[in-house]
Each structure stands twice: as structure tokens, then as C-alpha cells.
């Protein structure tokens, strides 16, 4: 499909170019294969691919294109046939050799390797992942240079409502990236195995699985339609061969299992290969069905459905560090669930007043502490964060700690309360800090200090004088999310005009970047952007009045270990990586 061709072609050309790298590199990485032959095969493979015709028009989230295999030096790999339906089970025949074991030691997932990997993980050892070293204190002297890597989604400006991305989340290893959209679909991308030849770019993300998570429902009692939009996705840590994630819309949470299947039984006695039953009388001999390898298929199946526990709209889900329970929060209540039990949940916070007319505050986000399984926080529309300890009482209406910054009287206006409403709260990976996002700023709180945040970063202070207009066009109610990098040294959040901002906590430097298709050449370093608040507009600056408030970046995610970020514009997903030298 034409729209996916552009970046792909660029990438393919890129790979061909990389094949001319000095041979000295190759032997160190390969599996003992002769470097020149391997490179030759790569080239041929690339050539075969580009010669092969494009498959028929692909759906929006196009399945991955074939990429060079570590083929034996005899001829190129076959061109991949077009893939089947995107929803439901996506077959990935051509990925057969590219699927990597989670520990990356072997190309094909195999039983022994998997067992080995998870054993190592459970014992606390880190799997031997050949990835770049986590940049600690990134920015100290060496600022990260962000480069465009990929963009997913439709090119045209006409945005289909169902394609609006509503959540983005990396899994715990960073290998998988899940997105949810307004149409109730979940699309999962998988990072391909790092190409041993090209060590200077990390694997790119390609579609791994797509499924319809939620359908629109109709509440007959209230005569209201329940939107199928996916509000949040949260991954469970991997415990076995399958991946699990929780996805939620306004009312229902579902636990999905995503599993791979690369073998299938063949040779049934009573069933034909196509599934038809044989007449038993025609069976003359018996045989034992055997497992034969098949093209890899990724299947998603709902394992649990947690429904009917929320009267109001669910805005957050958070998995506990015990990996057995999780919380779901709506506007007025927070419920605690056990992952195995769907017919019961415990209400742990209830701020609904006896008389609804006294309602002045709602819950906007909630999260479990990453390390203490009895602690969670929830934020409110009045700019407060409450930390609760479940050991204190069954119903945690009384907070253990209340985090609130006194209002700045000089900035007071009728909009003060609205812009103080917290749209997202995230704990740092260490668990010592938490970050909150209100309309104009990002604040970092030390859990030991309740009366004010330890750091405050202004995201788009130039909007303060435009609050009335933003109230009028409803932009003031936009809920921006925020995220930490893996080492808790940099935080990121989105803004308008498809800008997103990063703040380095150590160097106190910040940067504004734009997610746009104009810079869509891979490894193009993004140019920092600047908004001119008032006065003379310098060259390359954008004035506040020319910002496009329809282009907002609400959802961003940072790879847990590497400097790879996923940024969602309205209907496109951008992936950026730092420049690896």
C-alpha cells in the first residue's frame, strides 16, 4: 500500500547501504558465518524483496514487511506472501526465522531456551540481552539526540474516528509495544531482533498482533452507549511463553492472553486435515497425531472479563507489584481486583458524597506503588494526590499522605482549579518519586514530602494567557499523560501542535520536539522546536497563535530500558530512538 511504502523503502535502501560496512564488524556478531557471504545474501535478500511486487492494499496497521533473515549463504529468502486478515490472528509466516527468544540467545523460540530464560528471570538474574547500556543520568554533558525511526498509521489528514489512538504502553521488557484506539482495537508491535550487522540502530517495531478488545455496548437502563474506546492498557510481567495484558474501556476490563503458535497437530484419525469428520467406518488404520511446524501465528484470547463494577468511567488501571491484584479507578471509586476472580472486587476508595450535589472533586488517575504492594496513590481534579495504605483499613477513604501544593496567589484566576486538575500520575521506577501532570506543568514529588513538589517543569507556560480561549474550545480539559525514562532521569510529556517535551532532571535542560511526517527519514536527528510566547518571533520559532490545537500529543511511552520512545499523535504512532554512534 502506497502509504506504507515510503518509510519502508527508505529503510530498505538503508539496509542495502549498510551492507557495505567494513567486514571487520561482521564476524564478531554473526554466528560464525562467513561475513562476505552473509552480506551478499543480505543484499540479495534485499534485492529480492524490493523486486517482489507489493501485496494488495493493506489495512491500516500493515503487517510487517519481510526483513533480511540470517539466511545461510545460499540464495535469498523467499519473498513473503501477503498476510491474511489483520484482526484476530495475524499469521506471520515470514517471521518464522526472525522470532527471537526473549533472552535473544537464539533466533527461534524453543522450549528449552524459554525455560532457561524464565528460570533466570525468576531467580533475579537479568536475561542476557544484547542491548545498549542503560543511559544513566542521560544528558549530563551528552544530550540525547533523538532520531526518527518509524511512523505507523494513515497518512492522510482525514482522521477516522476509530483510529484515534487512546493509549500507548511498552511491556516490561520493551520488546512489545501496545496501542489502543477509539475503535476498541489493540495493536501490538514487536521489536525485531537487532540485526547483528547493523549495530547502530535498534530493532524496529512491526505489527505482532491486532485484535478487537472491546465492542460498543448499550446500557439499556440509562439509554446510553458505552464507548468501546480503550482507555488504558497495562502489561503483566511475563511468566511463561504467553504475554498478558489488561485493557479497559469505560466500564469493563479484560485480561488478554497473547500467545504464539508455531506447531499444529496433524494426523487425526477421525478428522480430515480441513476439519471435516471422517466416517469411522472408513478408518482402517490408526496413527498417532504428531506436531508439525507451521507458520507462526499470534493469537489473542480474552481470559478474564471484569465487568459491572464501575458506575462511572474507568480512567486508570494499575497492576500491583504482587502481580496478583490490580486496581481500577473511575471518577469516584477505586476497586481492587484479583486477576483470577472476575465476579468480585473490593471497593477501596469511595469519594462519592451522600448528596451528589455536593460533588466538587473527582478521581482522575490512580496507580500502585511499584515496590510496596499495599501502597497506591490517586490524584484528583483539584490538584491533590492522596497516598493510601491498604493495611490501614479496608476502605481507604482516609489517606495516609496528602500531596498538595499551595496555590500561587499571583496566578489565581477562574481557571486555576481547572488547570490544577491532575491528568496523570506515574511513579518513578525506583518508587521514591512520583510525577503528576496538570494542564500546564509536570511536577515531581518526593513521597516523603507532602507540602510541595521537589521539581516543577513548565510544559507550555505560554498558554497561561490563553486560558479563556482554551476553555472555550475545550482544550483546557485535555488530559495529557507523562512518563519516565528507564533510569528516572528524564521525563516526557506531550503538548499541542504535535510537540512533545522532555525534561532532564539532572541537567535541568529541556527540549521540545515535533512528531511530524516531514522528518520521516530514518536516523534523521530531530530538530528542537521553540514556541515564541510574545514579542518578536525569531526564525524557526512558532508563535503561540499559529499552534494547531487539534494536533495534540496526549499519550507517550518510553522504553523501560533503552532510549526508544513511542509518541502518539491523533491517529499516528511515531517511534523515535536516540542516535547510536
Amino acid at each position: 500500500c502506497a502509504r506504507d511504502r515510503r518509510p519502508g523503502q527508505g529503510q530498505r535502501a538503508g539496509r542495502a547501504r549498510q551492507d557495505t560496512r567494513p567486514a571487520a564488524r561482521a564476524p564478531g556478531r554473526g554466528e560464525g558465518q562467513a561475513a562476505p557471504a552473509q552480506r551478499g545474501a543480505e543484499k540479495e535478500g534485499a534485492g529480492a524483496r524490493s523486486r517482489a511486487g507489493r501485496s494488495p492494499p493493506r489495512p491500516l496497521w500493515s503487517p510487517p514487511r519481510p526483513s533480511p533473515r540470517p539466511a545461510p549463504p545460499l540464495g535469498p529468502g523467499p519473498a513473503a506472501p501477503p498476510l491474511g486478515d489483520v484482526t484476530g490472528q495475524a499469521s506471520r509466516r515470514h517471521f518464522e526465522s526472525r522470532v527471537a527468544c526473549p533472552c535473544r540467545r537464539r533466533r527461534r523460540p524453543c522450549r528449552s531456551c524459554r525455560r532457561h530464560c524464565w528460570r533466570r528471570r525468576e531467580s533475579g538474574e537479568a536475561p542476557r540481552v544484547k542491548s545498549t547500556i542503560l543511559l544513566t543520568g542521560a544528558g549530563g554533558g551528552n544530550d540525547i539526540q533523538w532520531c526518527f525511526s518509524q511512523v505507523k498509521g494513515a497518512v492522510d489528514d482525514d482522521v477516522a474516528e476509530a483510529d484515534i489512538i487512546s493509549t500507548v504502553e511498552f511491556n516490561h521488557s520493551g520488546e512489545l509495544l501496545a496501542t489502543g484506539d477509539k475503535g476498541g482495537r489493540v495493536v501490538i508491535f514487536q521489536q525485531e531482533q537487532e540485526n547483528k550487522i547493523q549495530s547502530h540502530s535498534r530493532g524496529e517495531y512491526n505489527v505482532y498482533s491486532t485484535f478487537q478488545s472491546h465492542e460498543p455496548e448499550f446500557d439499556y437502563l440509562k439509554s446510553l452507549e458505552i464507548e468501546e474506546k480503550i482507555n488504558k492498557i497495562r502489561w503483566l510481567p511475563q511468566k511463561n511463553a504467553a504475554q498478558f495484558l489488561l485493557s479497559t474501556n469505560d466500564k469493563t476490563i479484560k485480561l488478554w492472553k497473547i500467545s504464539e503458535r508455531d506447531k499444529r497437530p496433524e494426523g487425526y484419525n477421525l478428522k480430515e486435515e480441513d476439519g471435516r469428520y471422517r466416517d469411522p467406518t472408513t478408518v482402517t488404520t490408526l496413527r498417532v497425531p504428531v506436531f508439525r511446524p507451521m507458520d507462526l501465528m499470534v493469537e489473542a484470547s480474552p481470559r478474564r472479563i471484569f465487568a459491572n463494577a464501575h458506575t462511572y468511567h474507568i480512567n486508570s488501571i494499575s497492576i500491583n507489584s504482587d502481580y496478583e491484584t490490580y486496581l481500577s479507578a473511575d471518577d469516584l471509586r477505586i476497586n481492587l481486583w484479583h486477576l483470577e476472580i472476575t465476579d468480585r472486587s473490593f471497593n477501596i476508595v469511595d469519594i462519592k458524597p451522600a448528596n451528589m450535589e455536593e460533588l466538587t472533586e473527582v478521581i482522575t488517575a490512580a496507580e500502585f506503588h511499584p515496590n510496596s504492594c499495599n501502597t497506591f496513590v490517586y490524584s484528583s481534579s483539584k490538584g491533590t494526590i492522596r497516598l493510601c495504605d491498604m493495611r490501614a483499613s479496608a476502605l481507604c477513604d482516609r489517606h495516609s499522605k496528602l500531596f498538595e501544593e499551595p496555590e500561587d496567589p499571583s496566578n489565581r484566576s477562574f481557571f486555576s482549579e481547572i488547570i490544577s486538575s491532575i491528568s496523570d500520575v506515574k511513579f518513578s521506577h525506583s518508587g521514591r518519586y512520583m510525577m503528576t501532570r496538570d494542564y500546564l506543568s509536570v511536577k515531581i514529588w518526593d513521597l516523603n514530602m507532602e507540602n510541595r513538589p521537589v521539581e516543577t517543569y513548565q510544559v507550555h507556560e505560554y498558554l497561561r494567557s490563553k486560558l479563556c480561549s482554551l476553555y472555550e474550545n475545550d482544550c483546557i480539559f485535555d488530559k495529557f499523560e507523562c512518563c519516565w525514562n528507564g533510569s528516572d532521569s528524564v521525563v516526557m510529556t506531550g503538548s499541542y501542535n504535535n510537540f512533545f517535551r522532555m525534561f532532564d532532571r539532572n541537567t535541568k535542560r529541556d527540549i521540545t520536539l515535533e512528531a511530524s511526517r516531514e522528518n520521516n527519514k530514518p536516523r534523521t536527528v530531530l530538530k528542537p522546536r521553540k514556541v515564541c510566547a510574545s514579542g518578536k518571533r525569531k526564525k524557526d520559532e512558532i508563535s503561540v497563535d499559529s499552534l494547531d490545537f487539534n494536533k495534540k500529543i496526549l499519550h507517550t511511552a518510553w522504553h523501560p530500558k533503552e532510549n526508544i520512545i513511542a509518541v502518539a499523535t491523533t491517529n499516528n504512532l511515531y517511534i523515535f530512538q536516540d542516535k547510536v554512534n
Binding site: 452507549e225 473527582v362 481534579s381 486538575s421 494567557s465 479563556c468
Partner: protein
Amino acid sequence: MFARGLKRKSSEDAEDADGGVAGLPAAPSYTLQRQSLLDMSLVKLQLCHMLVEPNLCRSVLIANTVRQIQEEMTQDGTWRVVAPQAAGRAPLDRLVSTEILCRSGREQEGEGDCPLPDPAPGQAPRRPQSSPWGLDGSREGRGGFQKSLDHIFETLENKTPGSVEELFSDVDSSYYDLDAVLTGMVGGAPTGPGLPAFAPTAAAPPSSTCRSDLGELEHTVEILVET
């Protein structure tokens, strides 16, 4: 308080309560700006209920803003004071009143049906308005709404005892009808299709902008309760 950059609205002849351009722009005074903010907020509250399902967070934030404005206006003593009648009414003309809502509620109060906690039991009798809409049928339908509306004003009255009295004393016409709001905003005409009879009714009583708005608030805050 409204910093530079605030969109200037004229409450005098706003075709569109959301600040559409029409007529002569008045010099932005704080009061006018606040008034227009109040209008805008009330319209937002109504509109958000028209959507699939009201977003509770948004409704609460807008309602808090309205409350804040009202408190300030009460403190200023401008609650009774009104910008020129014409100014106040212009945005309301095209917003036909839900006579049913206010009137039915008040009539209920008069009958003692509605448990409106009246801070001033001896307040001025309300002015009944004739309405082409059948009272009984509408009252039944809206009784519940009005009830909850009145409950909401319990809180307001607790905070500002004086205001509630003013709220109900003279409020009648110029209540926003949801359909009329939209038609009014789209067409800019004071009378929406199907509700022409209200226009004169709306214009007739010399109600204050603020009170009309609050009557509107009654209706819209009911939305909160309904959810």
C-alpha cells in the same frame, strides 16, 4: 485576572454565547468578562449533557467554575446588579427557557411537593409564566429533575445564604432549553423552530441576567446529579 490575550466578548449582543462575533465589541471590563465566562460555562454544562454520556470530570470542573463566579459575584454584591438588561438578555433571547423546569419546580415548591430547602420561606412569590407547554405532563417528567436541582442549591445556599433567595425569587423566563440552545447557536435566531412562543415570554419579564443564568444553572446542575 483575565490576562492579556483573553478573547474579548460582548455580552451585549453575543449571537453565540461562546463568544461569536456580532455587533460592537464592548470594552472588556472584568464584570463583562466574568459574565461571559458564566454564560459560556452554563452552555457548556448543558451541551455536555447532550453528548453520549456526560463526562463527570468535565462537568464537575465547569460547575465549580460557575460556583466560583457566582460566589465572587455575590461577594461583590453584583449579584443583583446587572449589566444593561439588553446586554444580559441578548444571549438569552435565543435561548428559550425551559419553563417546565423552573416553573414546575417552583410550583411544586408552592405546593410543597418539592422538598426545596427554602432558606427564606417567606420569599416573594414567583411569577408564574404562561406556557404553551402542558404543565402537568411536563411537571411529571421534570419533577425529578427539579428536585435534584433544588438539592444542588442546598449547597449553594449553604455557602451564600442570600443568593438562593435571589435565585428563586424572580427567576422564571429565559431558561435555556436544550434544543433551543443548539438551534439558537446554529441559527443565531432568538427563536428556535418549534418554540416560537417562548420568545416573547422570554423577553417579557425583567429578570436579571444573573438570575436567569442561575435558573439555567439549576437545570444544568441537575445534569450532574442525574449522573
